[in-house]
């Protein structure tokens, strides 16, 4: 067996953005096992300076096409906190439905279209159109349905339109909500069942690897927290959102154009598995059933299982969305205008769980309602150190399997985190030297 190993995967496929996997092992010593981030920088913090509070969420949603709804919600909450804008219960419920729709859409896209081809041993979802057409069609309908939620409530699922500081510029009609509800019940639930069965049939292909780490997510004792809550570390408990900088501790490394993060240990994990581990008890019963069916128990220390946790969350989001739509239909949609009269100007910090994990936006406004200072901390950046640490443990464990198998498992590992690299390098660019 060779003890030298050199892997260089240039631009990992089926992930959002540009990253390379580099492993260098000589005589059994692992010199390097890391994910290099080579995405161009965007400089959003600088772009925001001097922008009016009406424009800020329009700009920050463009940090990422896949999580645009999550960035928009977090941005609106930070602006509202900074300007002292209260929002109604109806606004909050509609936003929670939007976050569910976004998690639903993104988790389906990743679990069924980007990660699942690995379990069927093909290079993309396209060959599966021939071999597993019914499942691919169901998956496509699920994705359409998830996008319908964004379209109905915010005008457009990618870069939403009608959610603004203080509320909504246009509200969905009760008929729209009823149609959406019917579609979820008659089409979404059976399609989800089909997709879950397909995933269950290949679940044994998920590599058995474990590395216990620190799990960080938003937490609330009232619900499986996605829209709002405190910061929760599986090691040391709850922190108010204002303490986010003490949790993230971002630092620069030379192999990544996105900063890394660490809290109580050298690295921590965010995303579906972190949320599942921290908030399992608050999942809807049907989501817990699906977790059991797919062999996912809390706490789980296998990062590959993040994909399964995403599917469990889809079931939770669908169930919870139905309950919230029913509540809105019971109380009736109130025609209300967005509250856009600032009561103060200052700093506002907000956190939301977006599909890939905990997201922070932090704005300071001047007295003209323009941004003075902005900071955004992105989930994928927070996961990068954890991915490197996983690789360092994984490579020696599977060294006997040969270069091809190792490369494949490393690509699957990176994919399991569902990295969103455009987001993570919204601001930083570092040249690396080999």
């Amino acid at each position: 067996m060779s003890t030298d190993l050199n892997i260089n995967v240039h631009h990992v496929t089926r992930v959002e953005g540009h990253g390379n996997i580099v492993v260098d092992m000589k005589k059994g010593n692992l010199n390097k096992a890391q994910l290099e981030i080579v995405e161009p920088p965007r400089f959003f913090e600088a772009m925001l300076k001097g922008r009016n509070f009406h424009e800020v969420a329009i700009i920050t949603s463009r940090i990422c096409g896949i999580c645009s709804l999550g960035h928009q919600m977090t941005s609106l909450k930070a602006t509202e906190a900074a300007l002292g804008l209260e929002v109604s219960e109806q606004t909050e419920i509609l936003r929670k439905i939007l976050i569910h729709g976004s998690t639903f859409q993104s988790n389906i896209l990743h679990a069924l279209f980007l990660a699942t081809p690995d379990f069927f041993k093909v290079g993309s979802v396209f060959p599966l159109v021939k071999t597993n057409k019914a499942v691919v069609e169901a998956a496509l309908r699920l994705k359409r349905l998830a996008n319908d939620i964004g379209d109905v409530i915010s005008g457009r699922a990618v870069h939403p339109i009608s959610c603004v500081p203080g509320g909504f510029t246009k509200l969905p009609s009760e008929d729209d909500l009823r149609t959406l509800r019917d579609k979820i019940v008659t089409q979404g639930l059976p399609d989800a069942e089909l997709a879950i069965d397909a995933l269950a049939s290949v679940a044994h292909e998920i590599p058995p690897f474990e590395r216990e780490t620190e799990y960080i997510s938003v937490y609330s004792d009232k619900e499986y927290a996605l829209y709002d809550g405190d910061i929760c570390s599986s090691d040391t408990g709850l922190y108010p959102v204002e303490k986010y900088l003490e949790v993230t501790n971002e630092f620069v490394v030379d192999h990544s154009s996105s900063k890394h993060a660490r809290f109580n240990r050298d690295s921590y994990m965010v995303g579906a598995l972190a949320r599942f581990n921290n908030s399992y008890a608050l999942l809807k019963p049907k989501a817990k059933d699906v977790a059991a069916k797919l062999g996912l128990e809390a706490p789980n220390y296998n990062p590959y299982m993040n994909t399964v946790a995403q599917v469990v969350e889809v079931v939770h989001c669908v169930e919870d969305t139905l309950e919230m739509i029913d509540y809105l239909l019971d109380t009736g949609i109130k025609q209300e205008k967005p509250n856009q009269e600032p009561t103060r100007y200052g700093r506002g910090i907000a956190t939301t769980e977006v599909p890939r994990g905990i997201l922070f936006h932090d704005y300071t406004y001047n007295r003209q309602g323009m941004i003075d200072k902005a900071n955004c901390i992105i989930p994928t950046g927070q996961n990068l150190a954890n991915i490197d640490d996983d690789m360092k443990k994984l490579v020696p464990e599977i060294i006997a399997e040969g270069k091809d198998a190792i490369t494949r498992k490393l690509e699957m590992l990176v994919r399991a985190y569902d990295p969103c690299i455009s987001c993570s390098v919204h601001m930083l660019d570092v040249e690396f030297i080999e």
């Binding site: 953005g17 772009m47 290079g123 159109v129 005008g155 990618v158 510029t169 246009k170």
Partner: protein
């Protein structure tokens, strides 16, 4: 191309990949489209690479020296090149950083470490290589993209609209956004989005770029009448179109 399905590839440069995602969002048409073309490269969705492309779709703008190398390489190996979305067409929202001296941008983000991080102004793909067609918007308009895609497969020249969003907004029978007391860039912005933002109660942010030969001074005067200073009006016009509006200003002078 006759007898063979056209080879189609998608590439991403500096942007949010939202336009690529929009493309995967044709859940209803996706399988039909796949019958008509061979998708040979699409890193966000599949493994695999190819040497030649009949049609190359480019998402995202140019903002690093590596981007310039890559776009030349793709141009050499493709038949038709289409810029997808406003970042590829005009530099998009990324070009807002061009408004500030690059020294200031880097300092605002990196502080003392600014010297570590070189960067070039965000530019459209057409600033570097020849682009055959454009699909505008942030995100790109999905129906317009389908129209361009279908036209190219059929060997036709796609029709691109060159009139203002106001026309589409009137057809939708929306109340005028400016009359409602809000800001709006509909009068100078290129149509093709079906006035989706005004139809959802928002103002037009100009994400599709200006119509050709805009009356910029007229637009600024109109916004002034509605209570916006020249500075604020220009700043908002530049949100998605820094490169185009700045060029306009230079010509104006």
């Amino acid at each position: 191309m006759s007898g063979q399905k056209p080879k189609v590839a998608f590439f991403d440069f500096t942007g949010c990949e939202g336009c690529q995602l929009n493309k995967l969002n044709f859940e209803n048409e996706l399988l039909d489209l796949l019958e008509l073309v061979d998708i040979v490269e699409f890193r966000e969705a599949m493994d695999g690479k190819a040497d030649y492309y009949d049609i190359a779709f480019i998402e995202g703008g140019i903002s690093t020296p590596q981007c310039i190398e890559r776009i030349h390489d793709i141009r050499r190996r493709c038949g038709v090149m289409v810029a997808l979305g406003q970042c590829a067409v005009s530099g998009g929202i990324n070009a807002m950083k061009n408004l500030h001296p690059s020294e200031w941008v880097q300092e605002a983000v990196y502080g003392e470490d600014k010297y570590l991080f070189p960067s070039i102004p965000a530019q459209p793909v057409s600033a570097i290589v020849n682009v055959d067609y454009e699909v505008r918007g942030c995100p790109m308009s999905a129906p317009e993209y389908l129209h361009v895609f279908k036209s190219l497969i059929l060997g036709r020249k796609p029709e691109i609209k060159d009139y203002a969003v106001c026309v589409e907004c009137k057809l939708k029978e929306n109340e005028c956004v400016l009359d409602k007391g809000m800001f709006c860039l509909g009068p100078i912005t290129r149509a093709g989005c079906e006035a989706i933002c005004p139809s959802n109660g928002q103002y037009c942010t100009g994400c599709r770029g200006p119509v050709s030969n805009i009356n910029r001074d007229g637009a600024v005067d109109m916004l002034k009448k509605h209570g916006y200073s020249t500075e604020e009006a220009l700043k908002r016009m530049k949100m998605f179109n820094t490169n185009e509006i700045d060029k306009e200003i230079k010509w104006g002078r």
